[in-house]
Symmetry: C2
């Protein structure tokens, strides 16, 4: 039975794209319930300046709370070394730093060109290396807009391969491929995963961050699975998107992904009815906010044993 | 470049699940526009008694109109020999007859057990064989509820294999696999396609009819493509379902499927902007009816060349 990790990114990627601020207690209840349903990794927030994203202002408090949940890997998005310092001080297990393959998107998003982002990755890597082994976080870089950019259009696979190599040379432990804009298709996923893995080694690329912008999210997961990818980001109720990439909304839906993987005989460790029940926590905390997903409406198939 | 046929089933599977009757002129405009966008096969209706499905009462008139569109294969659903007679008289190119793998569903749907449906298939096949070669329709049987049934639950793959063989022995030219209930997953699709093809020969199973009930529709297409399937049914705007299988609604969306296949480099012959424009015909004819699909909202990726 293939063991697959679903990494919940809703409290970060979902909530950052919604104007309203979810109260800390609701975030905590969401994370606790999802962990209790068997989700083993959750990206709880983003350590950017609170003035930029007030929705993420309580991230350090949330890390402290989430850390107490046994067996849960607490991940946080950090844009730079300053964010990484805060994340480490708060006790985060895993740092995720975005690196946009579209230089235009990178300049718009974090006002840094590729060279500047690579320098920042090296700075974060040095900081991580300085930590004592028992509290040293894992440091992953998400290669954003890896399948295309809403500003630049197509992104060259040559560039993604080269920048993936440079990211690891700069000291990241791992790279992931992010379809920030919902431009990926199953053939592109297979091609790019294969290509980057050939360049960096299979163990340095394990994660896909996919959006469902054009409805192809789970189809792209199938392609990733067949290439040996073992971690998929997803967002409960499909909350989320990228506020700086116009028209790029909608993470793949955790509930539909968990159902698909269970149906395919993969072991995600997730209790599906318990996962589906988490939805009401998010719905109650964000009344009127659209939640996506087909499995929650249709229910599990008759006689389905996960 | 792999050539893939998208078979539009919205005028049949979509409209039969909606209470309102779409006027003949609107159906005609829809079919003409979709054919002009490059769709090469359309299931225009169902030849069941008009008292049962008033939405399909104009099917014979529609066949006569659709037949005049150059290059279009006009398909019709027939439940029995009586329907097949009407379809042939009207000049249909292809007959599609459903055969439910769940005997309970079959009894509820057409009041026939498996033996009775096989006898009906033999009767239709004999009728087809009697036609002069130049007007003889192609006769395909869709193995409904092949991946599970909302009444019986799981459906045995042994039974599907056995009934597929029996269907071809009874004289059908081809079988298709239908996920009437949205129970399929990519692993099940691969397993069942492989198994049935091993039993009947690759050239006797080319079609998958998938629903998006749990959001896995396009993921299941990827699995089918990899097993060599070359025809996928889909419905514009995801209209449709099976009125006799509770909770089983939503064909895969033609627009999203066409985008995915184009992105993957398959040749469907479809002009995507022209296909997306067809949506307004359906929306105008069925005001308030929900239309599904992600690509229509998101638009095509920047710089996307189909």
């Amino acid at each position: 039975m293939t063991r697959i990790l679903i990494s919940e990114v809703g409290p970060r990627d979902g909530l950052q794209s919604i104007d309203r601020v979810m109260p800390l207690a609701a975030k905590q209840a969401w994370i606790a319930a999802e962990a209790a349903a068997g989700v083993r990794e959750i990206e709880v927030g983003s350590l950017v300046p609170a003035a930029l994203l007030p929705q993420m202002a309580d991230t350090e408090a949330l890390i402290a709370l989430a850390r107490t949940i046994p067996g849960l890997t607490v991940t946080v998005l950090v844009p730079n070394r300053r964010g990484a310092e805060r994340a480490i001080r708060a006790g985060t297990h895993k740092l995720s730093m975005p690196f946009s393959m579209s230089e235009t998107h990178s300049l718009k998003n974090v006002r840094k060109d590729h060279a500047a982002v690579l320098a920042e990755i090296a700075a974060v890597a040095a900081l991580v290396a300085d930590q004592p082994a028992e509290t040293r976080p894992y440091f992953e870089v998400g290669l954003a807009t890896a399948f295309g950019c809403t500003i630049e259009g197509p992104v060259s696979e040559d560039a993604v391969e080269r920048l993936a190599v440079a990211t690891l040379e700069a000291g990241a432990a791992e790279v992931g491929l992010s379809d920030t804009t919902g431009y990926a298709d199953p053939a592109a996923v297979r091609r790019l995963v294969r290509r980057v893995r050939r360049a960096v080694g299979d163990d340095r690329l394990n994660t896909l961050h996919l959006h469902n912008t054009r409805g192809l999210g789970l189809a792209n997961v199938v392609a990733g699975l067949e290439e040996g990818i073992t971690t998929f980001d997803a967002s409960l109720g499909g909350l989320g998107g990228c506020p700086w990439a116009p028209g790029a909304s909608g993470n793949i839906v955790t509930e539909d992904l968990a159902f698909m993987l269970a149906a395919m005989g993969c072991d995600t460790g997730i209790d599906l009815p318990a996962l589906l029940a988490v939805r009401s926590i998010v719905a109650d905390a964000l009344p009127g906010e659209p939640l996506y997903g087909f499995t929650p409406d249709a229910g599990l198939p008759l006689g389905f044993a996960a």
